[in-house]
Chain length 308, copies 2
């Protein structure tokens, strides 16, 4: 079937691409470990060509990208739009990338500047959020909280289709660098990692401790101590660390969740962990949205012209 | 002059050795970047020989080591003694390492197990603490708080010459891994690091923010945001990160500091940062102790026979 649009969420670690038909239906999808940080010598064009070259029936097929690809470390720096921002605000601020062979545009990011001087930014998650049916067509009026777990987890406050504020937690990146580069990884058996063997008890212990005690830079050292005395098994230390970091995030953000709908957007694996951790924090009414679908719909929506 | 004892603080990154005369005076001192984690193929004996070989006037000169060298990743695993513990408790539990050429012993570590199941461990800092004149001969009765900033900062509660409790904060290691391996290091100009150009304003901003807000996994992302918008200069981002992490540590531990003497033990550079950060948290009466001297005295003290 004819390709109307190619969309891509090009983050730090992964590139996820979608081929859209005339009505916005996703005809095909690919996910490759060719994130922005893996691209050397700025070979963005050839990397993209390798991944989607066979999808291009003509050079005029528009390509729309979101995520870290629009950052200073990416292909071209797209602006940050200030919050509050709605879908239409982003549609009008896409940037065109000048390439020899492709018609590539990049979605802008979002920024927020708090009254206390607090700054925050996002790139990619805005596309997921505007791709959620629950946000574009809310069944509940008022404020929504949307959580996008990941390398840099975002907690966004959404009101009437506008992202009004958000905060970033370095949960996923802390997990990765502490496991790979700190003493906490020394006692872990990460080479035998097996998704089916995920130790839920260790994860929940971590979440519970972090919800009770906000001193996460102290709690982190307990990963080593529990490993040294084998009070947590080596193959469960990774889950315990994950629980501590997700618990710290939820403990800090939980004040936003009182009496508002909470939605978690992401992969089935991540959303189920957050759902479990939120339940331990007393938040049980959580909507789960598939992250792949949300970003695909968001890219399609952002590719359309502005509407009044 | 005759060598009575060789003492060494052999940590993860560095080996610091002392040559003692008959009365415990330090005749010579060396500090080399040959920490336990740099020793390959368990070549502890040859590493030590390279560093202190010329100090040995006979094979019988006793060598006493403390620190990570006694951990599971070290030369030989020394036990952990449970808190509360006094100097004499450690003297009796040194382990002897069997080597072809040296008379090496290793100081045990300390552990604490809280009523809530909390575990913590130290190796090396106990020797510093028992090396402090202020702890062995306190001029103020009652509780003392001793802080040893570093890779794994320790906050110890000392009563009547006994270490009764302590907590570890991963401050120094978080700083190092985030700077080297996370997105926070991307915008830093760390290659131009210059001690004299240390940006105190950025450090103090970090401390202040972390004292006001315990959500450190969120605050950490502000290092990137402040860098992106150049609201903090690239060459000051490292100091801002340092301030955030030290502020988080002090904010979490500050409750121990009410109406008790607080002593910070370490290098002049680290102790002055902690003194500044403690002042921002309202703790102004702080005693500073030189870490080198403390560990040297501690090794000499621990090498002596038990006393009633």
């Amino acid at each position: 079937m004819h390709t109307t649009l190619i969309g891509g969420d090009w983050g730090s670690s992964n590139l996820r691409v979608f081929r859209f038909g005339d009505a916005g239906q996703i005809l095909e999808q690919r996910d490759v470990a060719r994130g922005v940080l893996t691209v050397v010598n700025r070979a963005f064009e050839s990397t993209l060509s390798q991944v989607i070259g066979d999808w291009l029936d003509s050079a005029e097929v528009p390509i729309l990208l979101c995520g870290m690809v629009g950052s200073r470390q990416g292909w071209a720096e797209a602006p940050y739009i200030s919050c509050p921002a709605r879908l239409n605000d982003l549609r009008g601020k896409k940037i065109r990338v000048h390439t020899a062979s492709f018609a590539v545009s990049i979605v802008p990011g979002l920024m927020v500047r708090g009254g206390d001087g607090r700054l925050d930014v996002m790139r990619g998650e805005e596309t997921q959020i505007f791709g959620m049916d629950e946000i574009r067509h809310p069944t509940v009026a008022g404020t929504h909280v949307v959580v996008t777990p990941g390398t840099h987890s975002k907690w966004a406050i959404v009101e009437g289709g506008r992202i009004v504020d958000f905060s970033t937690y370095m949960t996923g990146e802390l997990f990765a660098v502490l496991r790979a580069h700190s003493i906490l990884g020394k006692l872990m058996q990460v080479d035998t990692y097996d998704h089916a063997a995920f130790d839920h008890a260790a994860f929940e212990l971590g979440v519970t401790r972090a919800l009770e005690d906000p001193a996460i830079t102290r709690l982190l050292f307990s990963v080593r101590c529990e490993g040294l005395f084998e009070t947590i098994a080596p193959q469960a230390l990774s889950e315990y660390l994950s629980g501590l970091l997700i618990g710290a995030e939820i403990g800090a953000a939980i004040s936003h969740c009182a009496r508002v709908p909470v939605t978690v957007v992401g992969s089935p694996q991540m959303t189920s962990l957050y759902q479990k951790a939120l339940a331990l924090a007393g938040v049980t009414a959580v909507t789960i949205v598939d992250g792949d679908r949300a970003v695909g719909v968001g890219l399609w929506q952002l590719a359309q012209e502005n509407r009044p």
